[in-house]
Symmetry: C2
Subunit: 416 residues, 2 copies
Amino acid sequence: MLLDAAREAAAEAVGCRADELVFTSSGTKAVHSGVAGVLAGRRRVGRHLMVSAVEHSSVLHAADVHEAGGGAVTQVPVDRAGAVSVQGFADALRADTALACLQSANHEVGTEQPVAEVAGVCREAGVPLLVDAAQSLGWGPVEGDWSVLTGSAHKWGGPSGVGLLVVRKGVRFAAQGPADERESGRAAGFENIPAIVAAAASLRAVRAEAAQEAVRLRELTERIRAQVPGLVPDVEVVGDPVRRLPGIVTFSCLYVDGETLLHELDRAGFSVSSGSSCTSSTLTPSHVLRAMGVLSEGNVRVSLPFGTAAEDVERFLEVLPGAVAGVREKLGAPTTETVVRDDVLVVDSLGKLCPIPVIELAKVIGDVPVGGLVRVIADDEAARLDIPAWCEMRGQEYVGEEPATEGTAYLVRRVS
Amino acid sequence: MLLDAAREAAAEAVGCRADELVFTSSGTKAVHSGVAGVLAGRRRVGRHLMVSAVEHSSVLHAADVHEAGGGAVTQVPVDRAGAVSVQGFADALRADTALACLQSANHEVGTEQPVAEVAGVCREAGVPLLVDAAQSLGWGPVEGDWSVLTGSAHKWGGPSGVGLLVVRKGVRFAAQGPADERESGRAAGFENIPAIVAAAASLRAVRAEAAQEAVRLRELTERIRAQVPGLVPDVEVVGDPVRRLPGIVTFSCLYVDGETLLHELDRAGFSVSSGSSCTSSTLTPSHVLRAMGVLSEGNVRVSLPFGTAAEDVERFLEVLPGAVAGVREKLGAPTTETVVRDDVLVVDSLGKLCPIPVIELAKVIGDVPVGGLVRVIADDEAARLDIPAWCEMRGQEYVGEEPATEGTAYLVRRVS
C-alpha cells in the first residue's frame, strides 16, 4: 500500500499514469533501463539513437554501449549557451531512428532545453523522445508530449537510491536483462520501500514550495551572474542567461586550475563543483563545456540548494575574488622557454597541464608584432578547447591546430 | 572516505580484499551483474552455466536470460533435504562450463549447501564458483575457495538498497551494460553513501553477536521443528535438520492452503511466509519445494530475526494448531463426485486448486480395496508435486501420471 501510494504521488508530480511509472535503484539505472528498453522494443524500426551532445554521462554511456553493439549514434550539437536547436534536432531524425534523448535541463550549466518543441517534432516523426528530467523534476513537470522520462530522487532533495522511469502507454518497450515480477518487470530486486516513500514525499514537499523558491533562487543566481565578471577579471559566465534552472550558475576563470580553486573555496566553507561534477575524478575536460565551445579551465559550478540564504551568496561573492587571485598567483610565473623561429614564436608547453599552456600563451602574445604568430605546442587535451576560447575572449585570431613531432601545435595570430 | 571505510569493513567481514568488493543497488543486482560479468569474461571458454535447482530467483532469472541468448544451463538437482551433492555438482561440470552458481544456504528451507567442497571441485576444474551468500553473510564468512560472492544488506538487518559483489582477483570478469568510473566500473550510478555506511556498520554489529545469537535461535527453531509434528497432524517439516541456518524453519501442512494459513497467522500477530516468499505474488508452487520433492501445500516459513523472544515462539506454537485446524475446517468437505469405472475410482478435481485435489484423494482412498487404484483428474500444477508427496507421507503407492482428456490423471494404488 505504501508503494502504491508513493507511485500515485510520484505519477501526479510527473504528470503521468501510475501504471506508467516504476521506481528504479537510481536515476542512472532509470536512464540505462529506459534507453535499452526502447532500443530493444523498436529494433525493427532501426538502430539509430540520437542524443544531445550535452546529455548526462549516464545517457552517453548507454549510447556507448549501443554503439559498441553495432548501433548508430548521432550527437546533436548545442549552441554556445548549451541548448540544442529544434531544427537541428529535427534534421538529425532519420527513418531508422529508434530513440531520441534530450535532457530537460543541463546538469553543469543549467541551460533548459526546448523539450516541448523537440517532443513535437519527434512525435511527428513517430520517434519516441526520452527526457532525462533529473535536473528539473523538483521544479515542475516536463512540458510537451514526451514518451519516456527519467528522474533521480536525490536531485530534488530526496534520498539516494531511488530513480523514476516513466514509459508512456503505447511506447514499444522491451525491458532488457534479468527481470522479476516487480515494478512491471522493469526493475528487478526487492523494492527499497522506505527510500521510495521518502522520495515521493520529498517530491511532493519541494513541489509545494517550488514556484516561490524558484523566484528567490533565480534572484540569487542572477546576482552571481551579474557580479562575478566585475569582481573577477577574465571570467566567462556560461549557460543561457534566461532559459535556465533557478539554482545553478556556472563560470570559468582564465588561468585557473579548477581543482585548486575548489579546494580554496572549500577552505572558505563553500562546496562547489568543477567541470562535470559527476565524473570529477577523471581529468578530461567537461564534455558539456567542450560541446558548447566555451572556456573549460577554472570552471566553477555553484548550486544553490532549496533554502540557501542570501547572506551565504554575499559571502561567496566576497571570498571568490581572493580565492581566484590566490590560485592565479600560485600558477603565476612558470618558466617559459620561447624561441622565435621563422617569424613564429614557439611556446613549448609539452607535459604541462591546463591552465599552464594558456597562461604561457598569454604571457608571450605581446612579444610578437600585430599580425605575428604564436605556436603553442601542448599535449594536454584541454588546450584544444581553451586556446580557441582564450582567443575569442581576447579578440585574437585562432588560426588552427596541426600535429607536432610531439603533441599538437596550436597557432594563434596576434590581432591587437 | 566513508565509502572506503565501509568497503574495508565489509571486505573484512566477507574475508576478501577491499578492492575485490563493490557495492551494488541490491543483492539481486549483485547477482545479475556477477553472473553476466563472469559469463562475458569467460565466453571463450564456453557458454555453459551451472546453477543448483534451488537457487534464489535472481540467479534463475539470470540463467533464463543466458539461455534465451543461446547459452546452455544445467540445473543441478538437490536431495530431499534441499542440498546438492558434491559428486552431483562435480559430474555436471563440463569443458565449456563458464560459471557455476551455488547459494551458501537456501532462502526457503534454510538448508546449508556444501559450498567449500563444491568450491574445491570447481577450482580443480578451473571453473569459477559464484556463491549467493545472501542468507548467511550475517552469520559468518563463506568458507572455501569461491571466486565470486554476492550479498544483500537487508538480509542481515541492514538497509534496503545495498548489495555486495565480490570478484576475486584473477577471475576473468567483463562488466556488462553501461558503466561509469564508480565501483570499479561494476555498478554505475551515484553511490548510496548513507545506506552503504549503514550496511557495513550493521554487518559488523550483527557479526559481533552472531555466534551467541546463532546458538539461541537454533534452540528456538529446533523447538519448532520438534514440536510442530506433534501439535499439528499431517505436517512435513522440510530442510536439513542439522546443516541449516539458525533462524529459519519451514514446514508444510497437508490439506491446507498456504495463503489462507498466512492470513490466519497474521491475524494472530505472526508474519510468516509461504512457498517462495520472494515471488509470493505468483501462484505457482515454490521451485525449491518442487526440486526437493516435498509437500508444497500449506507451506509455512518461519524466520526468526535477531533477538526474537522465546515467549513469541511459545505463543506461535500455541496458536498454530488452531490456525491450521481452522483452515482445514474451512476447506473441509467439498462435494466430491466419484465414479468407479473399470475397477478404478475416479476423482474429478478439474478446476480445483491446491489443496483440494489431495483432500479429495484422501477422502476416497478408503473406498477402494487394498491394491485398488484411485485416478485423480486435476489441472492445478501443484497436484503434480503434492499427490506423490501425499503418497510418500501416507505410505500409499504413487503409480504415475498420464494425460487426460482435460488436465492430467494421477494414479495412486492403495497399499494399506
